[in-house]
């Protein structure tokens, strides 16, 4: 193991961390406000696709990220109307959105670019790395942004009156309502914010990290982000750590698979299960201490 490998492993972990952390941090805000959403996988898919289209039209990866956030917000608005205003089930819309995401991206790649299953994002629509070494290891500006967003959201949630109100509508909406806080508005806003972050994460997949749009581009990251949110105990700073750990094991698995001394000892498929097994072990170990917000996933109807 030489220096460039360690640098590669570290930078790879940071790159893999971005979509999971952004989505988890959004999910933390949404659930702190009391709205469960399991449709992030679909949001990642759809914004990876539409974010690329927007980036290609605007000739800018950054516009693509913003476009992805906007697309995420639109989908979030559907979820928000159904759950917050119509008091519907919090889980079912997400299942529909996930299915829709998988269908729409596979359909869209063929309908829009005319290629089957995969589209390469042109250079002019990609985000340039901040730094790159001779071995192709690179650092994306989105990594820095992820750190900043996470810290800002943590500060907002726990150190400002706005955060207190968001947490109050998820913890005790009746009391919040009695104090004159518009429960529905705060919940809806939290859903939009969470979906926008997931949307930015989705666009990051295509216009930055992977540089391609594929039928399976989200690859379960929307769900891993939810696992990471539980792991974090609904705390953005811990979600940052969890996201990095997952990214690290994900990269480690790939790294071990590519190492000659591993060939023949353990089937590579076993190594590939590592990030999922680690997530399970960590979540199983941490729970008991972690407690979801009291009104998480429950519609609030004024008496």
């Amino acid at each position: 193991m030489n220096e460039s490998m360690i640098v590669g492993l570290l930078l790879g972990s940071l790159a893999a961390m971005v979509p999971i952390v952004l989505t988890s941090v959004g999910a933390v805000v949404s659930e702190r406000a009391g709205v469960v959403n399991i449709g992030y996988e679909g949001i990642l898919m759809l914004s990876a696709f539409f974010g690329t289209i927007i980036a290609e039209i605007a000739h800018s990866g950054w516009i693509g990220i913003l476009g992805g956030a906007f697309v995420g917000m639109l989908i979030g608005a559907i979820h928000g109307v159904l759950t917050v205003y119509l008091k519907g089930d919090h889980v079912i819309p997400g299942i529909g959105i996930n299915l829709l995401g998988y269908g729409a991206v596979a359909f869209g790649i063929r309908a829009y670019w005319g290629t089957a299953g995969q589209h390469q994002v042109p250079n002019y629509a990609q985000i340039k790395p901040l730094w790159m070494d001779a071995f192709g290891n690179s650092l994306s500006p989105m990594v820095i942004i992820t750190f900043i967003v996470t810290i800002l959201v943590w500060w907002m949630l726990f150190k400002t009156p706005l955060g207190l109100r968001i947490r109050s509508v998820g913890e005790n909406p009746e009391a919040a309502d009695a104090l004159g806080i518009n429960v529905e508005l705060y919940r809806f806003g939290a859903v939009l914010f969470a979906s926008a972050l997931a949307g930015a994460a989705g666009a990051y997949l295509s216009v930055d990290w992977l540089g391609t749009v594929t039928k399976q581009i989200a690859a379960g990251r929307g769900f891993i982000a939810l696992a990471n949110m539980v792991f974090s105990g609904w705390n953005p700073l811990v979600a940052l750590l969890g996201g990095f750990l997952f990214g690290f094991f994900d990269n480690l698995a790939i790294w071990i698979q590519n190492n000659p001394w591993m060939a023949g000892t353990v089937p590579w498929q076993f190594i590939a299960t590592l990030p999922y097994v680690v997530t399970l072990v960590v979540v199983a170990g941490i729970i008991g201490r972690a407690r979801p917000p009291k009104w998480d996933g429950k519609p609030y109807k004024r008496e």
Binding site: I38, G42, I78, L82, L86, K87, G88, D89, V91, I92, P93, I95, G96, I97, N98, L99, L100, G101, Y102, G103, A104, A106, F107, G108, R110, A111, Y112, G220, F223, I224, L226, A227, V230, P267, Q269, F270, A272, T273, Y276, V277, T279, L280, V283, A284, G285, I287, G288
Partner: protein
């Protein structure tokens, strides 16, 4: 409320959701420059226009009915079991493995059912003893199943004569075709019988009563002497059994290969689609049979639709919209009010 009326509202709501799915699907088709009329015509002709088409529809609905039961059993118990996807892979590989030694269809199906129950145990244990939410654990286990079954298919039960598939189910262990030269086999009958068995268990046995009570009102269940932990374990195990069976019949009853194809292609996606089938079927075994046939129709017709130039995945978009529409609370009332206002 009479029994009949209790069924009418969910039925109308599901039908409305299907209508909305078809309408928005048509808009998507139109916006992408395809002819919605041609596409839908091909879809329906492909799925229902011939004996072959109908056979294909019922064949495609078979695994969906079984995986939908997994989700429905969970939902009725107040659990969100989305682990059918990975369990299907295990059921399929178990059927391949078992029938190499015991060459009869019952052994293959039992193998699938048994491994389905076993694969559900860690999920149940994590839920009951560590409080790990089943959405998180089942998703992680689905990914673990992708790799482990992938390895079993590639390195253990591979077909030495065909690098693209596993060993085939031996002739004598295959489920016979109901109509020769189609893909419709006894597997469909097995899935319908299973739905009826689950209906009887859930609505006409003490176990089913306990499961449903702990789903509807956990507090009341506890006071009624029902152990929620045992109910949860039973729910995951029963659900695992039907999903394992889905995988088994998917390789034992579908010509021509009677094997798992490369990348688990012919056993993938059924677990997730089953969730949609269950929701549209209102988490009720009888509704699931109907919804399963509807989704089977969409999947069977998709191939014909593809010939008009529309990508296959269009049906996934329609399915997704149907599920979002199902999530609209009081959809039927909403429409009734609109209609009343309109006629005034």
């Amino acid at each position: 409320m009479s029994v009949g009326r209790a069924y009418i509202k969910p039925l109308t709501e599901s039908l409305l959701a299907i209508l909305i799915g078809a309408l928005i699907g048509a808009i998507v088709l139109w916006a992408s420059g395809y002819s919605a009329v041609d596409a839908y015509k091909a879809l329906i002709v492909g799925a229902l226009g011939s004996v072959d088409g109908i056979a294909e529809t019922l064949s495609k609905s078979t695994p969906l009915i079984l995986t939908a039961l997994t989700f429905a059993i969970g939902a009725r118990t107040g659990l969100f079991n989305i682990g059918a996807e990975g369990t299907v892979y295990f059921g399929a590989i178990a059927a391949v493995a078992v029938t190499q030694y015991l060459q009869n269809p019952i052994a293959g199906m039992l193998g699938g059912i048994l491994i389905g129950a076993l694969w559900a145990l860690p999920v149940a244990a994590l839920k009951v003893y560590r409080g790990v939410h089943e959405v998180i654990s089942t998703i992680m286990f689905n990914w673990i199943a992708v790799y482990i079954v992938g390895w079993l298919a590639l390195d253990v039960f591979y077909n030495p004569k065909d690098p693209n598939s596993t060993l085939s189910i031996p002739q004598s262990a295959r489920l016979h075709l109901l109509i020769p030269n189609t893909s419709l086999s006894w597997a469909f009958i097995v899935s319908v019988i299973t739905a009826v068995i689950i209906f009887v268990i859930m609505w006409h046995t003490k176990l089913g009563y306990e499961l449903r009570t702990s789903g509807q009102n956990p507090t009341a269940a506890k006071y009624g002497g029902i152990n929620p932990k045992i109910a949860a374990i039973w729910s995951f195990v029963l659900g695992g059994m039907t999903a394992g069976l889905a995988g088994a019949v998917q390789v034992m009853g579908v010509p021509p290969g009677y094997a798992i194809t490369q990348g688990l292609a012919n056993v993938s996606g059924y677990g997730f689609d089953g969730i949609g089938v269950s929701l549209v079927g209102r988490n009720h075994p009888l509704g699931i049979i109907l919804a399963g046939i509807l989704f089977g129709m969409l999947n069977a017709g998709a191939t014909q639709m593809q010939q008009t130039g529309v990508p296959l995945e269009m049906v996934k978009i329609i399915e997704g919209i149907i599920i979002v529409a199902v999530a609209v609370p009081g959809l039927a009332d909403l429409f009734k009010n609109l209609f009343r206002r309109g006629s005034k």
